[in-house]
């Protein structure tokens, strides 16, 4: 690469033009082709169209490659979702991953709901409501079913709205606790110091989900992505994003 002669007076985004009478000739750019070159036309014209193949683009391609190998576990692991938006999202912020807890974490409350649904059948064997008039029995059973529905709905909402988001700029954890408390935590990718993944137990090993601990240097010093699918993929993506942020910082393009 040609170097600026006066580094003290150059801005990060100034174009660097190589001196005409330089003694040292710069090496040719690998991606730029000479117009009169006798080489045959490239087999992948899209790739060769890139005039400037920057390290950031290479990192982004690597992220895409990593994400292509990940399994999409229903709505638990969405790669670059087109319809997903969150309220704190910035204008030019791109969502790379949206994650929820693995679908298997819902099995417990689904089974409990099924048990609650079939529970009134046992009233025929154990007639504990038999001393009530018929209309009271009917309303009691209706109460039971509506409470069952509310339980299942609340459990589903807790799962659905507990979202972990990785964007090109930060990691975000949105938690709704008991439908009444909302917690929003985020940390810039450049502030991430350490990422640890933790897969334990038979179901987590078999179904490939686990917990990720993200240590940051920001105000929220630890973000926990609990029971998310493909934890090792997320760790790799975060590593690449950190490299991308470092590269952008070197190039002076940090937002």
């Amino acid at each position: 690469m040609p170097r600026a002669t006066d580094l003290d007076n150059i801005a990060p985004d100034d174009p660097i033009t190589p001196p005409q009478d330089s003694a040292i000739t710069p090496p040719p750019e690998p991606s730029v082709q000479e117009p009169s070159s006798p080489t045959p036309p490239p087999s992948h014209p899209k790739k060769k169209k890139k005039v400037f193949n920057s390290p950031v683009n290479e990192i982004r391609a690597e992220i895409d490659h990593i994400l292509n190998g990940a399994k999409n576990s229903f709505a638990s692991f969405q790669i670059r979702p087109s319809k997903f938006v969150f309220s704190e999202q910035e204008k030019d912020e791109q969502i790379i991953l949206v994650m929820r807890q693995h679908w298997f974490t819902n099995v417990r409350w689904i089974l409990l709901t099924l048990l609650m649904v079939i529970a009134p059948i046992f009233l025929t064997f154990v007639p504990i409501l038999s001393f009530f008039p018929a209309r009271y029995q009917m309303v009691s059973i209706l109460f039971w079913y509506i409470i069952t529905f509310a339980f299942a709905f609340e459990q589903f909402l807790s799962w659905y709205f507990n979202v972990y988001i990785v964007t090109d700029e930060r990691v975000v954890d949105i938690d709704f606790v008991n439908l009444l408390n909302k917690k929003f935590s985020d940390a810039k990718i450049s502030f991430i110091q350490d990422v640890t993944s933790h897969v334990s137990g038979m179901s987590q090993t078999l179904l490939n989900y686990g917990t990720i601990l993200i240590q940051t240097a920001s105000e929220v010093n630890e973000l926990v992505f609990e029971k998310i699918p493909n934890p090792e993929v997320v760790v790799k993506v975060l590593q690449q994003l950190r490299q991308e942020e470092e590269q952008e910082a070197i190039e002076g393009r940090l937002r």
Partner: protein
């Protein structure tokens, strides 16, 4: 003079009505929360959740009416 069982049934009715009213408040809270949450996190399944929450509210209103007029 009314029967003793009348008072027991009246007590039960009051308990059911209070329970249904508390449930109605809970259903209203769920509608409010789902509306707030869908504004915060916008995903493709959100319209169904809003419909479910309103259906739940309608059931809760129905339950209050049932406890008031059927019991």
């Amino acid at each position: 003079m009314p029967d003793f069982s009348f008072y027991i049934l009246l007590f039960q009715k009051v308990v059911f009505v209070i329970g249904a009213l508390i449930y109605l408040i809970f259903a209203i809270v769920i509608v409010r929360q789902v509306t707030t949450m869908t504004k915060n996190v916008n995903d493709s399944f959100n319209p169904f959740l809003i419909i479910f929450s309103y259906l739940h509210l309608i059931f809760a209103v129905f339950l209050v009416l049932l406890t008031l007029f059927v019991l």
